[in-house]
Every structure is written in C-alpha cells, then in structure tokens.
C-alpha cells in the first residue's frame, strides 16, 4: 500500500510507433518518490521517446501510463527557441509557473547562473543555457523531475557539481527523478535503478546488476563494467544493427 502511494509515474508495457517504425516497445518502469531512475542506451534506443511517453507528450501510444502527480519539471534534450520572441532568463523561469522572486533566485543560485537573470536567453552559451534549463525545472519544487541529458555542454567540473546537485535535490525535495544520461560513471554512483534500453528494455535493476549483465556489456563494451566485478552468464538474444532482436 505504502509502496503504491510513493509511485509518481508508472509505465506499463508502453510502445510508440512513428512512420511505421517502433521507436520503443514493451517498456515498463516506474519512478518513486526520492528515487533516481536512469535510462541508458545507445543513440536511437528510445530513451527520449520513453521520457516523452512518461510525460504525456506522445499521445497515441501502446500500453498504459499512469501519472500520480501534475507537479513536473522537465529538461528536454533539445530545445529550439524562436528568437522572434524576446525572452530574458527570468521570463523563461516563469514559463509554466508563477514563482516568487526568491524561489527563482534560489534555483538560479543552485545551478550557478544567478548573474544571468536579466540576460537575454539568446545570448547564453550552450552550457549556461543548460544550467538555466535545469534551474527552471527545479525552481517549482516538482514532485517528478524528468531530465533528458541535463548536463550536455556543461564544463567538466560543472558536470560533476550538477550531478551532485541533482542527487541533493532528490533527497531534499523527496522528488522522483527520471534521468537520461550518457555518463556511465554518474549512473553507477548516483542512481537507484537503471533501465538499459535498446528499442526495448534490455536489462534493468540496480547499477551493479546491470553492469554485470551481458547485454549491457554488449552495448557499452567491457570497459563500462570493469570497475565492477564481472559475472559471465548466457544471454538469450542478440541485436542486429538496427536494434531488431535476433533470437539465438
């Protein structure tokens, strides 16, 4: 009962088809309060698609999505803003919510970009913009955060600091986080649950379990799991280059 109450979003066997091709199929996962769930997988494996299904951006989907909160913060992977619209950082921060000025300052300070508050959004560098995106998502103190490669383009030291911040936020706000990341090191240290995608769920579990999994190794190479002890076990299927499953 208590576990049910903690669930923020639950995907049951979801899939999404576009132009006759399944971007993802048969994905089940759930995000709970205070937990970080990370999606990993190669390019085109359906990570962002899965996040968008969970958020309700894609509507004609297979399977079921149950959302138990409406207080959501989202950092999309790509964002294109049309500069016919003059927009300062502080206007962008208020995009989906009417926040008080100190809540806004607090979030911008946390991600280290408070000095950019009055700057025009179009004049920011890629890394600065990414920090603003993250600040916007956390400023409303969401119950569920969906972060699609939130630190892309951020400098190396900043990257570590932001991942620490994400971890801290999940503890402080007790919010659930659905994270998409390429940084396997971070995934292995900060995450509670890993879902490895390649058009479908290849494997999932704790970071340790996933690192031991053969499919994970096949996708990311031996090195990715070297830091953790390696267990050999037989896998039941392989992937062709386009992600189709080949049964052994």
């Amino acid at each position: 009962m208590n576990i049910e109450k903690n669930i923020l979003v639950k995907l049951k066997d979801v899939g999404f088809e576009q132009n006759g091709k399944w971007l993802v199929k048969g994905v089940s996962l759930q995000v709970e309060k205070g937990k970080i769930v990370t999606l990993i997988g190669p390019n085109g494996s359906g990570k962002s698609t899965t996040a968008k299904i969970a958020l309700g951006i894609y509507k004609n989907i297979e399977g079921q999505v149950e959302k138990f909160t409406n207080n959501i913060g989202y950092v999309p992977q790509k964002i294109s803003i049309d500069w016919t619209l003059p927009l300062r950082v502080k206007d962008f921060m208020l995009l989906t919510d009417n926040l008080k000025d100190d809540a806004l300052d607090e979030a911008l300070t946390l991600t280290g970009v408070k000095h950019l508050k009055d700057k025009n959004l179009g004049n920011l560098s890629g890394g600065e913009f990414q920090r603003v995106l993250l600040a916007r998502a956390i400023s409303k103190k969401p119950e569920l955060l969906v972060l699609d490669e939130p630190v892309q383009g951020v400098d190396f030291t900043g990257e570590i600091a932001l991942y620490e911040l994400i971890k801290k936020i999940s503890e402080k706000l007790n919010c659930g986080i659905l994270l998409i990341s390429h940084d396997l090191h971070t995934v292995m240290t900060a995450t509670d649950h890993v879902v490895c995608l390649n058009g479908h769920v290849c494997c999932s579990g704790s970071p340790k379990d996933v690192a031991r999994n053969n499919e994970y190794k096949a996708l990311f190479g031996e090195q990715a799991s070297q830091t953790l002890s390696v267990y050999e076990h037989k896998h039941d299927h392989e992937h062709s280059n386009d992600g189709e499953i080949k049964k052994n």
Binding site: G73, P76, D82, T84, P86, L87, L95, T96
Partner: protein
C-alpha cells in the same frame, strides 16, 4: 459625443488597437501572419452570408472564419499539402467565392471598397458596442489562456510535459483570431487586418527585450497608428484601413533607427 462620425471612428480604432496589440504579438511569435490573412479573406464570405440571411455581420464573420479555421485543421491532417499551400487555397478560394456571391446579390448595393479597405464613415454606435464588448471579451479570454499559450509558443513540449494543455490554448487562440477579424473589419478592411496585427508588433519587437514590453509597445504602436491614420484619412479623404496601416509602417521604419542606435552603443 458619439454623434460625430470621426469620434466614433477614433473610439472604435482605440478599442481595436488594444486588442490587436497582444494578439499581434502571438501572431508574430507563432508565425501566423498568413493564417491571419486566410481568416480575414474568408470574412468576405461571412459578410455575404450576413446580408443574404439578414444577420449580424460581426457574428456571421466570426462563425465563417471559425469554420474556415476548422477546415484548415482537417485539411492539414488529411492531405500531404504543405501548410502555406493550404492557407493560400483557403484564402483565395473563400475570397473568390465571397466575391462571386456578392455578384449574385444584385438586390443589395455593396460598398466593396469599404469592405476591403475599411471605411470610417461606416462605423455606427452599434459597431462601437461590438468592438468594445467583443474586444474586452477577447482580452479577458486571452488573459485566461496566456500562460499555456505563451509557454507553448516558447516550447510546446515543455508546456505539454508540465501539464498546461497547449492544444486547448491553441484552439481557443484560433477562435480569438476569428473574433478580432470580425470586430475590426469595418474599420480596417479585410485585406489589411493582418497588417494591423503584425506591423505595430514588428515595430515593438525592434524596441523590446522582453515579452511584456513587446506587448505594451505593440499596443502603443497600434494606438499611434490609429490616431495618425484616422486624422490623415479625414484630412486627405483616403480609406481608413490603408491610412492606419501606412502610419504603422512609418512607425516601423522609425523603430529601425532605434535598432541602429543600440547596435552602435553596444559596439
């Protein structure tokens, strides 16, 4: 006070400028200027229907334009034609059908020039009521949908993900577009309504660094255009719509100098 036709025209123009300012910003931001044209052209059909059925013109235009907007949405889903081709198809065919229909209505004398380009003599006290009550309603609804509409203008997926229902806001905005065309056709004329929507806004863009400022400047630009345009319309006996839009153009050209200055300051 409203006995004088010129006072009526001024009061009507002020009411219209207050509404076209904020709506025009969304037209520019969402790249809808050709869409506005299409709705405006279809208004002629609305006028003919109103005359044939002896119906209120503003209501008839509002309904016709809304239907054209609906047809556009359907066509976008059903055909592989690009959006601008569909807009052109609807704009010109509804204009053509409207003009043909007028040809058949020989029993009524039409002031086609007035319809196309606006006529300050034509504004009645009833029209003032339509403009001010209709305009107030449009602004009220726009205020209610401002958050989701603005958020989805910046980024659709963010708005959708964070639960703002951008599709509903977009549908309501389309209706508001039909409504502003319906109430402003007598003053500005159906060929130039989009000009009234986008030229003051374009001027405002040159002067603003944030959305609120752009809306305010857009309203001010619209008001100035109405004043200058109507006075010159009276003075030189020119049709009101082109006079207002030409005034807006002059303001836009002035705003370009402001840009030049700021660029020089930055260097």
């Amino acid at each position: 006070m409203f006995d004088d036709f010129f006072v009526r025209a001024l009061v009507a123009g002020i009411g219209i400028a207050f509404v076209t300012g904020p709506l025009g910003c969304f037209v520019v931001w969402r790249r809808l200027s050709y869409f506005g044209d299409t709705l405006a052209h279809s208004a002629l059909l609305g006028v003919t229907i109103a005359y044939t059925l002896e119906f209120n013109i503003a209501v008839s235009i509002f309904i016709t334009s809304s239907i054209i907007a609906l047809i556009l949405v359907k066509l976008e889903k059903k055909t592989n034609l690009p959006g601008d081709a569909l807009l052109g198809l609807l704009a010109h065919s509804s204009l053509a059908v409207g003009l043909v229909a007028i040809g058949f209505l020989t029993f009524i004398r039409f002031d086609i020039m007035g319809l196309l380009f606006g006529d300050i003599l034509a504004v009645t006290t009833d029209d003032l009521l339509t403009i001010w009550i209709g305009g107030a309603l449009i602004l009220l609804v726009l205020k209610l949908i401002w958050k989701p509409l603005f958020a989805s203008t910046v980024n659709y997926e963010l708005a959708e993900a964070e639960g703002l229902n951008p599709d509903r806001a977009k549908a309501i905005f389309t209706i508001l577009m039909a409504a502003i065309i319906a109430i402003s056709i007598k003053m500005v004329g159906l060929l130039l309504i989009t000009g009234m929507l986008i030229i003051p806004t374009a001027m405002a863009r040159n002067l603003s660094d944030n959305p609120q400022k752009m809306v305010i400047f857009s309203i001010i630009g619209g008001l100035l255009s109405v004043f200058i345009g109507l006075f010159s319309s009276l003075e030189f006996n020119t049709p009101s719509g082109p006079s207002i839009v030409a005034a807006a153009l002059v303001l836009f050209i002035f705003s370009l100098f402001k840009i030049k200055q700021t660029i020089q300051l930055k260097n």
